[in-house]
């Protein structure tokens, strides 16, 4: 079984090497075959491991001793338990579908660049697998860094465009800021617990008192890392800009997998967070605030991918809210369903963009349901799922989180419900402006509109199916007793937390009320948006007032520019002109000048006057006499 475990990351790594090194020699079909084939292989093995875990057998595979310093030992070890096997399936499954999609979407690229794309994509999957399979925080961090790198490589895939490069740099730098927090947390952990291993850290932390300062510190630092990777306040502004990359990349990295790394990390460390309620509170508040903020911005965006990007940030906020109120299963459930419907929505958007010849502004679309039937149906299903309409998947997962929030604090629930209403509104605004109403594009574009080929539509259909039925893995108590299969499956991972945070479950009447209210309000929102935007006409009016603020993303980027960029630049200019030129150069050049001056003065001794030479001789002999005779 251990060997199978090693194969899971090694296959994508092999794909990366082959496609990367052979990019000048391999043909496009062959590159596609290798790129998709290795992911399919990993998926099959992940299935085998999943069934193994389901039958109750966890695997711990120790490859080699990675670091050994004194008493500290960090092995390169993989851990397959319910949580990681679930993530493995999501990553390899959705990843495979996106790889297949990319073979048709990236068809127009030249051969070396086509191969480069697939090699980067494989490297990304490899890093993400390392991240979720690691048995200690260090291996997780290696994968963490790897996905950050691949994000940079893939966002800047069309590297000839400076703006795309800037977006890639922005993503990488903001990730890095978060990574610093993660790294500090690891150091602290090693210093305090003597190990970074999950099992050891959790067993040692388990006996600590609640809200211990060290635990709070470590968990907060870990959360900083999560805000960077999973685009929460204050490190979220890179994600909308990351839409500069190809759409399948946005689907895989910035919707389904990389951004969920933060959720995985906190879910894995659930015991630490349960023991530090302060950090949990912080997580919940930050998640909720991000969810609302991103939702408000999405209301006024006109680029199809930007709407989806802000939607991703908002949904991630919900997942963190779930983690923050102790609904670990709910958060992981939402990760799963979100992977399905968000990947579906992004791939659908890609199909639309492909048909519209790279037009991304929804004000210039409309009525596309006529020409893109499959894309239209799957996109609609995705929108229904994300809005939270039963019986689609989003409804179950979102409701679980919101109910847990209500138990913690009703205010959280009401704010979260507001966010959900906004989600429904802007998603159906997007849907209606794209697929309903009259076509608002040019005649040229209308001519070329046609449904996308099979490699694009097949993954859409598969994902739509998953988005529809995915919710049935987590049916809550009120519908059927003991039907929450996911909770059952993940219970060993969260057992320690649930034990400590025992609480009275909500009475069924309250739950039914909340459910009914939310469904009714969401449906109303959906209907309102559908009607309003099916009749949308592009009058070319500029946004004003509050709408302008939302359209300009609350001016957060400008704020960061003012408080971070400009001072940093001023400091570096200062350091260059003053410290570097005057002080450091001054000292170094000063040495030279002093030596020069000294030698010039010393040269004057060589006057050529014999008289002065003799004087010096006499003085020297006097000095010698003094030293010899009197100072012994």
């Amino acid at each position: 079984m251990n060997n199978l475990v090693y194969l899971v990351p090694l296959l994508p790594l092999a794909g990366f090497l082959i496609n990367g090194l052979g990019r000048n020699f391999l043909s496009k079909p062959l590159v596609s075959l290798i790129g998709c084939g290795v992911i399919l292989g990993s998926f099959v093995i992940s299935l085998v491991l999943f069934f193994d875990v389901k039958s109750g057998h966890n695997t711990l595979a120790n490859a080699f001793e990675f670091i050994r310093v004194g008493k500290l030992s960090i092995p390169f070890a993989f851990q397959i338990d319910p949580l990681s096997s679930l993530f493995l399936l999501i990553i390899t499954g959705v990843g495979f579908l996106i790889h297949v999609y990319s073979t048709a979407y990236m068809k127009e690229e030249a051969e070396p660049h086509f191969a480069r794309y697939f090699s980067y994509l494989n490297l990304f999957v490899f890093s993400m697998l390392l991240l979720v399979m690691g048995a200690n925080y260090v291996i997780m961090f290696i994968g963490w860094e790897g996905v950050g790198l691949c994000s940079y490589l893939l966002i800047g895939y069309w590297f000839r465009n400076t703006e795309y490069n800037n977006a890639a740099k922005k993503a990488f730098v903001m990730n890095r800021i978060g990574d610093l927090g993660f790294l500090l947390a690891i150091f602290w952990m090693i210093q305090y617990f003597g190990s970074a291993d999950f099992a050891q850290v959790f067993s040692k932390a388990g006996i600590m008192p609640s809200n211990d300062k060290v635990l709070v510190g470590i968990t907060l630092l870990l959360f900083v890392g999560a805000t960077g990777k999973s685009a929460q306040i204050p490190l979220y502004t890179w994600l909308p800009d990351a839409m500069a990359g190809p759409t399948p990349v946005s689907a895989l990295i910035h919707a389904a997998t990389m951004v969920t790394a933060g959720i995985y990390m906190i879910a894995r460390s659930n015991l630490l967070y349960t023991l530090a309620p302060t950090s949990q509170g912080v997580v919940a508040i930050v998640g909720l605030t991000t969810a609302i903020l991103a939702a408000t911005i999405a209301l006024k965006q006109n680029d199809i991918k930007k709407v989806l990007a802000y939607s991703t940030v908002s949904q991630l906020g919900y997942m963190f809210l779930g983690l923050g109120v102790g609904a670990y299963t709910g958060a992981v459930f939402h990760v799963m369903t979100h992977a399905f419907f968000k990947a579906l929505l992004f791939l659908g958007a890609g199909s639309v963009i492909h048909a519209m010849h790279h037009e991304q502004d929804i004000r210039k679309m409309g009525g596309l349901s006529k020409w893109l039937p499959i894309t239209h149906i799957t996109f609609l299903l995705g929108c229904l799922a994300i809005a939270g309409i039963p019986p689609f998947s989003g409804f179950f997962s979102k409701d679980e989180i919101l109910n847990a929030a209500f138990e913690k604090n009703p205010v959280l629930y009401y704010v979260g419900l507001g966010g959900a209403l906004m989600t429904a509104y802007y998603m159906f605004r997007l849907y209606a402006m794209t697929f309903r109403g009259k076509f608002r594009g040019t005649h040229e574009q209308e001519h070329h509109l046609h449904e996308s080929p099979a490699p694009i539509t097949m993954p859409l259909i598969v994902l739509a199916f998953l988005a529809v039925v995915g919710g049935f893995l987590g049916i809550p108590e009120i519908f059927a007793k003991d039907a929450h299969w996911l909770e059952h499956f993940l219970s060993p991972v969260f057992a320690a937390s649930t034990e400590r945070a025992k609480h009275e479950p909500m009475p069924h009447s309250t739950e039914w009320t909340l459910l009914a209210v939310s469904v009714v309000l969401i449906l109303a929102s959906v209907v309102w948006a559908w009607n309003k935007f099916s009749r949308y006409e592009d009058k070319g009016i500029e946004e004003t007032g509050f709408g302008k603020i939302l359209a300009n993303k609350w001016y957060v980027d400008e704020l960061y520019d003012a408080i971070v960029n400009k001072p940093l630049r001023a400091i570096s200019v200062f350091l260059n002109n003053v410290v570097e030129k005057s002080a450091i150069d001054g000292i170094v050049n000063g040495f030279g000048r002093v030596v020069n001056y000294g030698s010039r003065q010393l040269r004057l001794l060589q006057s050529g006057q014999v008289g002065s030479y003799i004087l010096l001789m006499v003085i020297a002999s006097v000095v010698f006499f003094i030293i010899q005779l009197f100072m012994k």
Binding site: Q606, G611, L615
Partner: protein, 111 residues
């Protein structure tokens, strides 16, 4: 006379010669002061020779203990004579070239 007095006398003469060398600019005067220094040393040597002779006499009445010092003085005079002749020849040549005996003009070492 304790040897001390002779030592002080010789040291004083020697230092007067040194001051003369450092203070004067005339090459010939400087040369003369060198001769003065040499003489101071000669005096001291002879004084020492007599001192040794005196202390050796106490042990052996027929001793010839201090003779070497006086012969040394003899040879110093020999060398001084040779040195003076050559030195004055050099000074005469210097005078022929720059028509002055001022040592400050001899600063070709600077270049």
């Amino acid at each position: 006379m304790p040897i001390n007095y002779y030592i002080f006398l010789a040291v004083a003469l020697f230092c007067i010669g040194v001051v003369g060398v450092l203070t004067r600019r005339n090459a010939i005067i400087i040369f003369m002061c060198i001769e003065l220094m040499l003489n101071a040393v000669n005096l001291l040597l002879i004084a020492f020779s007599k001192m040794h002779h005196l202390s050796a006499l106490a042990l052996d009445a027929q001793t010839k203990a201090g003779t070497e010092a006086q012969l040394f003085v003899f040879f110093i005079m020999v060398v001084a004579a040779a040195e003076v002749s050559v030195g004055l020849a050099i000074i005469v040549m210097m005078y022929r070239n720059i028509h002055s005996v001022d040592v400050n003009f001899l600063n070709r070492l600077k270049h």
